[in-house]
Every structure is written in C-alpha cells, then in structure tokens.
C-alpha cells in the first residue's frame, strides 16, 4: 500500500491539475509503452483512489476525487493508441494538456480515414500501386511502393502497417 498523501501535497496537485499534461500526471515519459501506462495508472490509483482516502476531511476528499477523475481520463487517452496519437499531436502542436475523450476518438477516426488512402497525392498514387501489387501477391513490389509512399507521408500508420505485413509475407 502506498503512503498516504500529505494534505499540502493533495492541495498542490489539485491546483496544478490545470497545468499538467497526462504524462506528467501519471509520471510517464512521452515514449512510455502500454505496459508502463498501465503500471503508472495502477500506482497512481493506489494513491488517489477515492476508496483509499475516505478518512480525509471533505475538502481534501473533493480534491482527491478531482485528481482521480483526471487520472482516469489520462489513462483512457494514453492506453488507446489511436486516442494517444491524437492527443500527442494536440499536445505538441498546440500545447493542449487535456483532451475530451469523445474528441480524441473522433479525431483518431478522422485521421484514420485520411490515412487509409493517403493524405498526399504522391502518397495516394504509390499506395494504390502497392495495393495492386498486394492483390497479385507480388510482395516485394508492394514493399517498394509502400516504402516510396512513406517518403511522402512518413507518419502514415496505415502505410507502415501494410509495409510490415508485405515484408513479412515476402519472406
């Protein structure tokens, strides 16, 4: 069982909630893997779960409850790779530390839709060729076209997944 928190610590953290991003809240590095995310969630929960803080005075219980809710939110975003990608983007581009869950899902959905066929003209062109190669089971050719498509859209997860699969089948 984790050490109970001092009231000053609880108050300070509750005040800082508006400034901490999800990684900071869960004490995670930006490149943390999914197992780390889960471990961090469990560890943080042991401290801030409302059940573990029932003895606190009402004002502190309320603060703990707010922290616990933010911890759930952080976990819900970071454990889901699609939401996490959407969040990371907003965090690095706009410095937004919070993202509503539905928004993260929607954005992930939109990104997926745009990534599926490619965002750039060249990316789309080579991806189409790769799909034709895959249909003919010409995996080395598909891998080459996907590699080219990725030079135009290096962060396209769909292209990357297809490339990995083409390579594994080509062996």
């Amino acid at each position: 069982m984790a050490e109970p928190l001092a009231p000053t610590e609880i108050r300070a953290l509750a005040r800082l909630l508006g400034e901490m991003n999800y990684y900071e809240l869960l004490h995670l590095r930006r490149d943390a893997g999914s197992a780390d995310v889960k471990r961090a969630y469990h560890a943080t929960t042991r401290v801030f779960h409302p059940d573990a803080n029932r003895a606190l005075e009402p004002e502190l219980q309320e603060a703990v409850r707010r922290i616990a809710m933010r911890v759930s939110e952080a976990y819900s975003v970071l454990r889901d790779p699609r939401r996490r990608r959407a969040y990371d983007l907003r965090l690095s581009e706009e410095g937004r530390i919070r993202m509503q869950l539905a928004e993260a899902s929607n954005e992930a959905g939109r990104r997926d839709a745009s990534e599926r066929g490619g965002r750039t003209r060249e990316g789309q062109r080579f991806y189409k060729m790769a799909l034709a190669d895959l249909k003919r089971h010409d995996y080395p050719a598909a891998a080459r076209n996907l590699q080219t498509a990725l030079t135009f859209e290096p962060d396209n997860a769909v292209f990357r997944e297809q490339l990995a699969s083409a390579r594994s089948k080509g062996v």
Partner: protein
C-alpha cells in the same frame, strides 16, 4: 461494539448477505438456515410485510399481494417494454406514477419500486443483525454491471429507505472477482460469467495483486434464469393445449403452478439427467373432469429449449472480449456466478466457449455477497486493501438535433470520470439551456435509455452566443451519473432542474422514510433465543470461507478438475424445498422506444460549442458547423405542437431542486 458493514447481493430471485471480519468472510443465513432468501415480498391484509420464502409460498394462493422479481422493474419507465411485458404477466398490479415511473398497487397502498426493494434489503439487514447480535447500518449493495444510472440510483434509494448507509454500489461481477482473488496475490486475467435470475453480465478483469481492474463489461438486463423457466412453461403449456385444447396461459393459478414446476424442474436438472414434472389438478374440462400434467423433461430436451439463450450470452461475451482487446485464450480463468450456472448446459457451453474448465471453487449463489462484504470491510477501514477499478458499462450520450445522440463518455471508460462540454444560448436573453442525457450505444436517441432531461437556468442573460455554460458530466465510483453546470465566465453554478427522471425525489424519499414502510417488515426470529446477543449466534450450516492468506501459492492458470481446486468444500447444491418460484415477466428483446416528444419548455435549445476547459470559443464555433441549426429551430416548433408535460416549465425559479 465495533462498527460493522455488510455486503448484500440484492438478486432478482434471491438475495444473500455476508460479513467480513477478522480476516474471514461469513455468509449470514436467515432464520431457516438458508444462505439465500427469496427476493419476494408479501403484504398481508393487516399491512404487515413478509419477505423471503415465507412470502414466496403465497404466490399461488395470494398472487395479487405477492411481489417478486421487483429488480426487473426497478429504475425503469412505465412506458418501457419490460414494464409492458410485466404488466401482462405479473399477478400483482403495476400502475403508473408521476414522471412515467412504475408503482405497485397492493390493496389500497401504492409503492414505488425502491420501496419494494427496500423491504427485501430490510430483511437482509435484519438477518445480519440477528446473526451478528448488533445493529448494522452500513452496507455495500451489488447491482448487475450492466445496470444503467436510473437502476443504480433506484437501488441506492432502496437501501436508504431500508435504513442503510450505502458505502458503495458495486457491480456483481466485480464483487465476485474480489471474492475470488482477494488477498491471494494473483496476477491473472479472468472472465466473470454471471447468469442471474433476471440479468446476464460478463466482465473481463485483470487482477494484479491488490488491483482489480475491469477491462470491459457487457451484459443483457433482459436475460436470466427466469427465461430458462419460461421456456419450460411454454413447453408444458403448448403440450397441454395440443392434448386437451385448454390454454393454461389464460388461467393465472395454473400459470403460477407451471412456474413453480418449471423452476423446480430446472433445478433438478442441475443434478439429474431428467426431471419428473407432476402438476395435479391443473385444469378442469367443461364436463368437470380434472386434468393433471405429467411430463418427463430430459436434460437433452431442456438443452434444446434454451440453446438460443446460451448463444445470446456468448454473443455478449464476444462483445466484452472484443472491447477488452482480447480473445478467450488470453484468459487465465472463468468464474461462474448465479444459480443458473449450475446447469449442465451452462457449464458445458462455458467450457467450450472459453476453452477451459470454469472455476467451481466459489459458490455461485454466495460469491457476490462475499465480495461485497470484503469491500464493505475494506471501505470501513478507510480502504487500501484492494483497489477496484471499474468501468462504466454504457456510453453516456447527449441528445443533439434530429433525434440523434453524441457520446460524451464511451462505455468501458474507467470511473470515476468527468467530461465537460460547453453550450451556449441560441436566442437572445435566453433563460435556460436544456440537455437530454442518455445511456446506450445507439446514435438514435430513441434507442437509448433516457437518464433525464436537465434544464440549467439562473445564469447571466445576454445576446445569443454570448453566454457559455460549461456542463460537467460525472460518473462516480457507484456508476451513478451527475450532471452540473456553471457559467463559464463567472464560474457561478447554474441551477439544475430535472424534468424527466424515473427516480424518487429527495422529498419523496424522506416522506417514505417518515412513513416507516421498511419498519413493517416482520422478520422471522433466528431460533435459539437462549444465546447471548453479544456473541455471534452459531450458524446452523456454516458457509464460511477463510480468507486466503496473502502471497499464497499461485493457483494453476487452467484448473484441470473443478474439485481439485476446491477451497471451501460445500454441500452439494441440493435444491432446497422452496415453496414456490417467482412469477416472471417475459423479457423484451428490443430496446425501449422512447415516446417522448421534444418538450415545449420556453426556449431551451442548446448549441454545443466544444470542449470546456480546453477549447477556446473560436474552436467551439467550428464544431457548431456539425449541427444543423435549422433542424434545431424546426425541432423547437415541433416541440410546441407536441406538449409532453402537463405544466410547461415556464417558471424555473419555483421548481429548482438544487
């Protein structure tokens, strides 16, 4: 005397109470030595109330005053399919109360569903007090994981009416997992397959030492052991109709007898390959000849009758596994909960579906109450022994234009959680903003469960779009939804008025408590008056499970034989000589249609702006593009022509509840 908190499994057919003290968990049997008590209430002519098997014995000769399966009706709207079915089948009177609520009329008295459940809870409280020899006022009460907010709130109200402080509304499968894994230092992924009398739940959990994390949960609140009985009733009634040309379904007494026989046959089939059904004098021919039913129901025939019900449970399992991102072979164990899981077809089906032997070292009738008791004790000690990380079973959605909904909190999101949306006024000097809140997975509002129609007022007035209201949707660790609003600029809380909700208001609850309804429950005395009240009265048939010591040897991940793992040997689950089974309403297979028109309350249309706390108004305006503003105006006009409420809420100030 030390404070004590109990765990209560409030079931559709049977309830169970347990206590956890001094590192052991005891199921507390009733005065008859039974570890479970029928969730049946009988109200006598003199107004006295009996609960349990004694009440159940009245089903055949006093069906109008005997209420069973109240859990199927709790927290539902009168217009729901489930209530319609129940009205067609139930022998007691189901009437409509305020706000589309459901009431039960017995003689000249009208009861809300929380009151009926409060009678059962009071009985369980009394059983615990008699066994423990001290007053009990705190409890953890369990509900099906798939219960929505209305059902949870109503259950919580029931406990309050019964005189219990609810430490937690706990999900039944989570309670079962806790009873299974507490203090054992496990690192496992388990499925809890919970087939109760009226509901089915499946939860996938990851247990890591003291953390019990629910990864996904799914369920069907219209599917349970009662449905298995219904199939047998249909078989018998059809058989009788073709043989004698008499429809037993039209005769309430005959139907009750069929129900009794069907439940007994089902229980017998948990032990034997066939069941003899004998119902003497079930009907009389026009010529005065009395007819009986004699039927041998084989397990094979029974299995064929219920095969599709089993398939329905597995479809729900598919969904839960998919939501957890797992396949059956990723699991280390399957825990069975609920009486019907004793049936051969359930055991075989579960074994085949999950490709492993289900665990039978936990008693399916008692494990939920035991888990609730463990959690109750832990909460009383300020927690810290086990952390339950549960999820919300249903997506929380808000109504938008065109009869559609938009998710705010998706299902299987860990709780507690809060999300905030910003709304703005749509008309100049608008006085209130209204939001409909739903639970369910459909895009169509009519296919989701309406939690309430919230109206927020008392904020600054300004030109359209000037006033922004942050609406916060919160789901707490009880799975109960709370919606609040504040003026974004001033931070001032807006007043909230709920214009539609199936629940009881605070004033109704206190008036019910003043009337002392629960005090009328006459509990049978635990025999053995010679015993001192200070000591635990000896339990006739001990159903005690020693809490396993922590850091115990890790159990096999795939138990080979069920008995080899037995932790607490129990007597064979012989079907107790139960006087009578509960009448049960048939389940609706379809979601409840919502007969609610857009309301005609002043000007209440809200336009959602985006996400509060983070979204700037500028960003929010982009989002408004997704809503068809013309549609909203159109709906307002439609609303005017279809008044739903008797009194349009024109004067908000008078009706504020908070």
């Amino acid at each position: 005397m030390a404070q004590i908190a109990i765990g209560i499994d409030l079931g559709t057919s049977n309830s169970c109470v347990a206590v956890s003290r001094h590192a052991r968990v005891d199921v507390l049997p009733n005065a008859f030595g039974e570890s479970t008590t029928a969730s049946v209430v009988n109200i006598a002519a003199d107004g006295s109330i009996t609960v349990g098997n004694a009440a159940k014995a009245n089903i055949i000769h006093d069906p109008k005053h005997t209420i069973s399966s109240a859990k199927r009706l709790i927290g539902r709207y009168f217009f729901s399919e489930e209530v319609k079915k129940a009205r067609a089948i139930c022998s007691y009177d189901i009437v409509e109360g305020d706000n589309h609520s459901v009431r039960i009329k017995v003689r000249e008295e009208v009861f809300s569903l929380p009151e009926i459940s409060a009678m059962v809870l009071r009985e369980m409280k009394s059983i615990a007090e008699a066994r423990l020899g001290q007053p009990v006022s705190k409890a953890v009460v369990t509900v099906p994981a798939f219960f929505n907010d209305n059902q949870r709130q109503a259950t919580k109200d029931a406990a309050r009416i019964a005189g219990l402080e609810v430490l937690r509304i706990l999900n039944e499968p989570t309670a079962a997992a806790l009873a299974y894994g507490f203090g054992r230092g496990l690192n496992q992924r388990v499925a809890v397959y919970d087939l109760g009398g009226g509901t089915f739940d499946i939860s996938i959990l990851e247990i890591g030492d003291d953390v019990f994390e629910v990864l996904a949960t799914s369920g069907d609140t219209f599917l349970g052991g009662d449905d298995f009985d219904d199939r047998v009733i249909d078989l018998l009634a059809d058989h009788f109709l073709s043989k004698h040309k008499i429809n037993l379904r039209q005769d309430r007494f005959a139907l009750e007898k069929l129900k009794v026989a069907a439940e007994e046959a089902k229980k017998a089939l948990s032990l034997e390959p066939s069941a003899e059904i004998r119902i003497p004098d079930v009907a009389t021919t026009p010529s005065g000849e009395t007819l009986s039913i004699e039927y041998t129901l084989t397990e094979r025939e029974f299995n064929a009758l219920v095969a599709d019900l089993m398939q329905r449970t597995f479809k729900v399992c598919d969904e839960a596994l998919q939501q957890a991102g797992m396949v059956a072979r990723d699991l280390d164990g399957v825990i069975l909960v609920g009486g019907p899981t004793r049936l051969g077809i359930v055991r075989t089906g579960v074994r085949e579906y999950f490709q492993m032997e289900p665990r039978t070292d936990v008693d399916p009738d008692e494990v939920v109450a035991m888990g609730a008791a463990i959690h109750a004790a832990s909460l009383l000690d300020q927690g810290g022994e086990a952390f339950l990380l549960d999820v919300t079973p249903l997506s929380l959605q808000i109504g938008v234009a065109g009869g559609l909904t938009e998710p705010v909190i998706e299902r299987n999101t860990p709780v507690p959680i809060e999300q905030t949306r910003t709304f703005t006024t749509f008309n100049d000097y608008q006085e209130s903003v209204s939001i409909r809140v739903y639970q369910g997975e459909s895009r169509e509002s009519s296919e989701n469960e309406m939690l309430g129609h919230f109206e927020f007022g008392g904020f600054r007035k300004g030109r359209r779009g000037e006033v922004e209201i942050d609406v916060t949707f919160e789901i707490n660790t009880d799975g109960i939804v709370n919606v609040t609003a504040r003026d974004r600029a001033t931070g001032e809380a807006a007043s909230t008025r709920i214009t539609l909700s199936s629940g009881l208001s605070e004033s109704e609850i206190s008036s019910i408590m003043d009337r002392g309804v629960a005090d009328r429950v006459a509990t049978a005395k635990v025999p053995d008056p010679g015993e001192s009240q200070d000591e635990l009265i000896p339990v006739p048939q001990p159903t005690t499970t020693q809490r396993p010591a922590p850091a115990r040897e890790k159990p096999q991940t795939r138990p080979a034989a069920p008995t080899s793992q037995a932790q607490a040997p129990r007597p064979a689950p012989a079907p107790p000589a139960r006087p009578a089974p509960a009448p049960q309403p048939a389940r609706a297979a379809k979601p409840v249609p919502e007969p609610l028109a857009e309301d005609n309350v002043e000007i209440i249309t809200a336009v959602e702006l985006g996400d509060a706390g983070i979204a700037s108004p500028g960003e929010g305006k982009e989002l408004t593009d997704e809503l068809d503003l013309d549609d909203i105006e159109g709906l307002e006009r439609d609303g005017q022509s279809e008044p739903l409420f008797d009194e349009p809420g024109t004067d908000l100030a008078d009706d504020e509840v908070s």
